[in-house]
Subunit: 198 residues, 2 copies
């Protein structure tokens, strides 16, 4: 029984992980369970044994994508001492989304934001909360930088975090539309000097 | 016969106009013909009398959305003499997208870019071309500003147009996710001083 449960949990995690890639590329509403079946090699019953509904799978897959992104940013910033180095590492880590690292399909937060902004999906509070966490962590970095005199006290941490994230998200979408890293590269280049001057 | 044709053309335009709102809110793949039927009050046959396929309707609806946006920006910039005034008017005109003016559902170019970036949809070339036209028109404004010494020759018009548009698109998505104008307002405020300093 113990082994069966462990195996079941492993399959559940595999379905969540593969679904997170499927939903991030196709969109939550547009991806069918048949797409998840194809990616996982499981039959419909084999998927719904682990989830009550497609809705439950969508929520778990989104949470998994957010966790993947959070670890990606955390890894990039690890060992960086100064606030500006941490900000620059975050910006550089964002850049890899253009080439499908750590997840295929662009930024999972932005994709879900655009998909659900006119809907009443159960995912909306999760998307709002994930985007908020990301904005708050950039804002907190800047507050720390102001405390230790690394960043000017004239800047508004909240506004500045919105500008950095908006710039990155918009430019990633342009790069992905054109299948060309240039728009994101140009924007990252600008943001690097923007951060240096904070 | 002449009158019938004219009436048919009027219905066709009505379907395109209503569909552009439906697709921009629900997404092209996620919106069903039943949604278009509901908005237009027509039966399925009444819609497909005017279009060979849903695909053809999607393309016409996207083109209509782009035309709507182009006229909105053009109207906002009309009569503005200086390049900086024109840029600021464009930025202000973008702001109204947050409250569904001139179209419900956010920026049609960004929505389609995010929806189709991982697909092979027939719409992709139309989205790329529309985004390119928008970027080029901002870039051209800055080139004009450099020619008449209104804008510094040190700035790169292409990079600057990417930054302005990325910032606006990203911030609009944040505002629409939170159903709160603040992120876009903060970004517009920043871009106003950014433009003044060009």
């Amino acid at each position: 029984m113990y082994i069966t449960l462990r195996k079941g949990e492993k399959t559940r995690q595999m379905i969540i992980s593969k679904s997170s890639q499927v939903f991030n590329q196709k969109g939550y509403a547009s991806a069918f369970i048949s797409d998840v079946m194809k990616e996982t090699g499981l039959k419909k019953g084999g998927i719904y044994r682990h989830f009550d509904s497609k809705n439950e799978l969508e929520i778990e897959a989104f949470k998994f994508s957010v966790k993947t992104m959070r670890e990606h940013y955390k890894d990039a910033m690890k060992g960086k001492k100064s606030v500006k180095e941490q900000l620059l590492s975050f910006i550089n880590a964002f850049r890899t989304l253009e080439r499908g690292v750590p997840i295929q399909g662009g930024c999972p937060l932005m994709n879900a934001a655009i998909e659900f902004d006119d809907s009443t999906s159960d995912l909306i509070p999760y998307v709002q909360s994930a985007m908020n966490d990301l904005l708050l962590s950039i804002e907190q970095l800047m507050i720390n930088g102001q405390k230790n005199n690394e960043i000017s006290k004239d800047i508004n941490p909240k506004q500045t975090s919105i500008i950095i994230l908006s710039c990155l998200e918009g430019a990633l979408a342009l790069s992905r539309l054109y299948r060309n890293p240039e728009p994101l590269d140009q924007t990252v280049h600008y943001l690097q000097s923007f951060v240096e001057q904070l």
